[in-house]
Symmetry: none
Subunit: 147 residues, 2 copies
């Protein structure tokens, strides 16, 4: 690179020598030379900078929060479901619990008796290792069982 720099400087100087022979020398010859030099080497500087410096890349990492899409079809985490041994009915009960339904309403919604909902709930709580429906909902969401 030093070579390029040096030789371009030499080239310029000889160019100026030739010019000096060819054109009339007037009062402001020096200023003209200096201006030309300045322009040329400013250009060279820019060129050097652009060519030699690593491309400046400003990396902006934007965290985009995607809270579980409510419109898209939700698929329960099958793995977690299997691992915990939670049945489809128990999951259904959990889903309705998460929607704020009472056991009676869940029973009506699933066309089963209140007692049935209670047994499902009890087994669900056991499998999720919780004591209350609010905890079950919380854990169910954390495990990807419900949205």
């Amino acid at each position: 690179m030093v070579i390029v720099y040096g030789s371009s400087l030499a080239l310029l100087l000889s160019l100026l020598q030739i010019m000096e022979l060819r054109f009339i020398i007037y009062d402001h010859a020096f200023e003209v030379y200096a201006g030309l030099l300045a322009l040329l080497f400013t250009g060279i500087g820019i060129w050097l900078s652009v060519k030699l410096t690593a491309p400046r890349v400003e990396r902006i990492v934007v965290e985009k929060k995607v809270f579980t899409d409510r419109s898209a079809p939700f698929l329960a985490d099958e793995e977690a479901l299997a691992k915990l041994g939670i049945s489809l009915r128990e999951l259904a009960v959990l889903e309705l619990m998460a929607q704020g339904l009472s056991n009676r309403e869940i029973a009506a919604s699933l066309f089963v008796s209140l007692n049935t909902v209670k047994t499902h709930a009890a087994r669900l709580f056991e499998k999720l290792d919780v004591q209350r429906r609010t905890q079950a909902v919380e854990r169910g969401k954390a495990r990807g069982l419900i949205r």
Copy 2:
């Protein structure tokens, strides 16, 4: 920028004039001037390049699935809070409800009696227009009162 450029050129020229008066003029005076000029304006060119070129911005969007952001500090929606007329204590009860605590546990957590928790809960339900704690939690999240 043109002003800076022009004035620095003028400055250099006058500097050289002064130098010319002060020091002896030898054979390679011109080459020295030219070299100095070249160096200076190469530097200016580089500086210009670095300063003026816009950095290439690489925007990386990382989609982060967040069901509830537990790490970031959460601020309850003050507007919604005020609009519904929910007090700080009621909000506290709601938060603990959302964590699955029973009224008794909430009472212990807030150092108040069970009855107090019940009154807070009752008023909260009234203001949120719900009948059950599970619904309150759901609605509270939807309104941005809790996370």
